[in-house]
Subunit: 306 residues, 2 copies
């Protein structure tokens, strides 16, 4: 399988700190590179992370608060400077089309042909042709007081051979590969179909949940995901602020991952009031043990399906 990993470019909410740039996340997925929420400074963070503009094949913006979008012009500049053959699809909540216009025409640079606007609502936003086994990019509306789309990358289901059934029907050795390639195989006069000896293998799933209050759509995005990136702006002690500003606490994020049956959780989008986010990780882990806090320039593998 090709490498699938999250390259963390920035992890701060609202204001950057010495250690955390504004948001920015590149999901590398076979031949695709999906850049989520390029906050200010993302193009330089890409340099620090050793990520070239050519790696970016899609851009997804959750919403148009500045910390999630102000790095877009710089990224588009970089696509041009590095002569990346375009256009790169740019997905965003359709209500934000005016902001996209302003971001793309904020300087003398002419972005024509570098990106193509794909205003989105709920549902399928794109097929990811560069995914080795096919994948879909899906969106759900979240709950933040302004239009927000969370994102889900979902590999198409595959087929997994079941050794017990193969054995029972006498398929072995080179016959297994032949059956997989052709879809059927004749053994001892009987034609065996692929469906008889295989089962569906659900595809790998990545979810990107940000910014939102806990809500059913967030749960849908994260359901059965191998890797969930989730905002954890506040600690539980500031649950009142989270509710007021439409955010999640770290505990909310852990509860989401647990309820969704996810496999791993990455917390991010931290308020600068927490210089040390260990406490946020600790409270999320009480809900969902397989939790880490994103740090700028981390590379986090998407766990393989077993």
């Amino acid at each position: 399988m090709s490498e699938r990993e999250l390259v963390v470019l920035g992890t701060a909410s609202q204001a950057p700190t010495r250690y955390r740039n504004h948001n920015g996340y590149l999901l590398r997925w076979d031949g695709e590179g999906i850049l989520f929420d390029p906050g200010e400074g993302t193009q330089r963070q890409m340099t620090f992370a050793g990520v070239s503009a050519a790696a970016v094949t899609h851009i997804c913006i959750t919403h148009f608060h500045g910390d999630h979008c102000l790095g877009l012009p710089g990224v588009v500049h970089r696509l041009a400077a590095d002569q990346v053959p375009g256009p790169v699809p740019l997905h965003f909540p359709a209500e934000g089309a005016g902001f996209v216009e302003h971001l793309l025409h904020a300087s003398l640079f002419e972005p024509a042909g570098r990106v193509v606007a794909r205003p989105a609502g709920e549902g399928l936003a794109a097929r990811l042709d560069g995914a080795a086994t096919g994948a879909s990019l899906l969106a759900r509306r979240l709950d933040h007081g302004v239009p927000v789309l969370g994102w889900r990358v979902e590999e198409l289901p595959g087929v997994r051979m079941v050794p017990e059934r193969l054995a029972a029907l006498g398929v072995a050795g080179p016959g297994v590969g032949e059956l997989q390639r052709r879809g059927s195989l004749t053994v001892g006069g009987r034609t065996i179909g692929l469906a008889e000896v295989s089962e569906t293998r659900p595809g790998q799933v990545f979810a990107f949940v940000m910014d939102t209050r806990p809500c059913p759509a967030a749960l849908d995005l994260a359901r059965g995901a191998d890797l969930v990136v989730c905002e954890a702006t506040f600690a539980s002690e500031h649950a009142d602020l989270a509710a007021r500003y439409g955010h999640m606490t770290a505990r909310d994020a852990g509860a989401l991952a647990a309820e969704a049956g996810a496999r791993s959780l990455v917390l991010t989008h931290f308020s600068q009031r927490y210089p040390d986010v260990d406490r946020l990780v600790a409270e999320a882990r009480r809900e969902f043990p397989d939790t880490v806090a994103a740090r700028d320039l981390d590379r986090i593998p998407v766990p393989r399906r077993r």
Copy 2:
């Protein structure tokens, strides 16, 4: 005298590098803080430099290529987040008013009351009331193929007592201070006016020359300046590129400072093709010895008038 210094926030042209952020320069001048050309990432560079948003009292943009302006939205966000009483005057070439609109409305953030647009042409852009002895902010049009304004901060002229004239007229001891305070003094029956024993002391001058080909207006900006910040995008060996793209070589910058009778020169806005800018400094020094290369987060004092 209050502290007057240049805080270097970024020094890269076009694309940032690991070591150089996009442009950004804060001139601290008594109670004023004039932020020139906030490129992307300026707000975070301010954090690294220990500069608060409250230090910014004016913003000047030379032109609307992205590396000189894309950090504006973040800086304005920061003015709001830090509750800086506004509005901060924003000076820029009047032709770029549309870009200012886009930059200020590139996200859901509402900038009303944080900055006030002051479209500028040649001449006086503002009186700097926070300068201890008064100062003017002046603009000149430069030669870059698009509308560009270079900037000059000019302290109002002062008065300097001439010891020889004081001695010749018999003014000494407490009489000197009295003459300065009152404007006249009677000594031995003769009334002596301040003008008889003093001469005009030209004010301190700072010049900001960027981006431009060598041109007479650049020379006017730098004339007699104590500190000239000048773009030196290219080395002389790439003079053809400098001419084609409307830039200066380091040698051009040195020649400018020499011809202008400046006192010190800071080179910046380096092309990323020069990982080591020592050669640019060397070629500028052959024209003008008191030259340094700006590094991100440098603090460079404005030389005092002798």
